[in-house]
């Protein structure tokens, strides 16, 4: 597995009203091509900040983030973010329009091929029937599916997922995790996934980085042979291990 993304000794701090706040400190890890990498930590541990830095939305105060050996300096369609918020779809465009538009502006695709790619990816998330629907008529889960289809259609080097299922109900959430696993089987897209749910981390992550809180530091990077499974003996064991590391 060759390294696609490399994060080296990254510290991110920013000024607040009560002085300089350090969100993450001295974080290093690297993600291989086609890997599902999960960053797990309690809320406020800076995991989202870290993802935003990989996305290029925030510059690290110290350290480097490199994608294929080139430093990340700004947001771009080679690292597409799926946000937690449901309002990440453009409300003035249909489901189809939401997938086609970025292909037109970011990939400069012709209308025809953009629609073709969009149809293919909407099919992948099971929303072909809703192509002409406007986002406000969709449920939360469906909105997140559109966001995933939109991101995949852009064919990024990495998919950055910032707690995309955190606002969904438990059942929908579970279904979305399973579907994401299936999509990953089909595409082998490299995924960086941020979550505060141990269960989610263990189901999805080939490796799980455990972040401590205030400021966020790497506790451990765990290999997870149980990825893709639920409720097996191996899953339970890893979950216990993670719990123990987090609790320490």
């Amino acid at each position: 597995m060759s390294s696609l993304l490399s994060v080296r000794d990254v510290t991110i701090s920013y000024p607040t009203e009560s002085g300089l706040f350090t969100a993450v400190e001295g974080v290093s890890f690297s993600i291989g091509e086609g890997e599902k990498f999960v960053i797990l930590g309690p809320s406020g541990c800076g995991k989202s900040t870290l993802l935003k830095a990989v996305g290029g939305f925030i510059a690290p105060s110290r350290g480097v983030i490199e994608l294929e050996g080139r430093p990340v300096s700004r947001p771009g369609p080679d690292r597409v973010v799926v946000f937690q918020e449901f309002d990440q779809l453009l409300p003035w465009r249909t489901v189809m329009g939401n997938v086609v538009y970025p292909l037109r502006v970011a990939r400069r695709m012709a209308e025809g091929s953009a629609r073709e790619a969009a149809t293919r990816h909407l099919d992948m998330v099971g929303l072909t029937k809703f192509a002409a629907t406007y986002p406000h008529q969709l449920s939360g889960g469906m909105k997140q599916r559109v966001a995933i289809a939109r991101s995949l259609a852009l064919d990024p080097k990495m998919l950055l997922m910032d707690e995309p299922f955190a606002s969904l109900d438990a059942l929908t959430r579970r279904k979305m995790q399973d579907d994401l696993l299936m999509i990953w089987q089909a595409t082998r897209k490299t995924i960086l996934f941020v979550t505060h749910s141990i269960e989610e981390a263990v189901v999805l992550g080939d490796r799980v980085l455990i972040l401590s809180a205030g400021p966020g530091r790497v506790r451990r990077i765990l290999d997870n042979p149980a990825a893709g499974h639920r409720e097996t003996e191996a899953v339970m064991k890893i979950q216990r291990d993670v719990q123990e590391i987090l609790g320490r």
């Binding site: 939305f57 947001p75 946000f83 918020e85 990440q88 453009l90 003035w92 406007y134 008529q137």
Partner: protein
Amino acid sequence: MSWLGLPAAIRKAVILTILLVIWEAVTRLGDVSPLLFPSASIVLAAFGRSLVNGELPGYAAQSLQVLLAGMAIGSVLALVLTTLAVTTRVGAELLETLTSMFNPLPAIALMPLALLWFGLGVKSLIFVIVHSVLWPMSLNTYTGFVTVPRTLMSVGQNFGLTGWRFVAGILLPAAFPYILSGVKIGWAFAWRTIIAAEMVFGVSGSQGGIGWFIYQNRFEMNTDLVFAGLLTVILIGLLVENLFFRWLERKTVLRWGMSAAR
């Protein structure tokens, strides 16, 4: 069938007809001088006459033309002011100060100054129209821009949009509900202002417009035509507000499930 079971349009039509009948009855039976208060039928006849001979449509078109010119200039200025306000701190404070100063000032109060600066003519009218639309439109557009959800902005950046493409692709459509309500308020102010402003011209009798038509006919005691003029002002107001803007909202913000939360 009960009253509430009837469609809204029919209910309104019934109310309107009853009011017309009362108007007609009172003016006929009450022996009111048609010079002071003409009956509904006389007014409608006068309205029909000046509609056919093109007098009213001509004046109305003149008013609308000046109004649209004023609104166009006002929109451009509003866009400049808002752009300044979103990009710089000073710009935001400038916009805030200017709007709180000028918003409460009725445009018509500037008419004497306008006459002094621009003389009798279209320029003075446009000046007061610009004043009446600029502040509400700027304020709304500004609110629209600053309330664009953070996530949408990040999404736009993620697509690699920068500069003008970011503004056109993300900011303008995201702020559209506010911009639209700014234009609606601007129109309502402008339409009332222009009628009033044209009456000031009526005093010296130089330029046309529907306000002048009303004023001039009062001068000549054509009270039926005064009423016909007022009817035209109401009708155009209703057409624009209830038909045009409703249609535009159905095509845009309602379809998108977006609304300006104010």
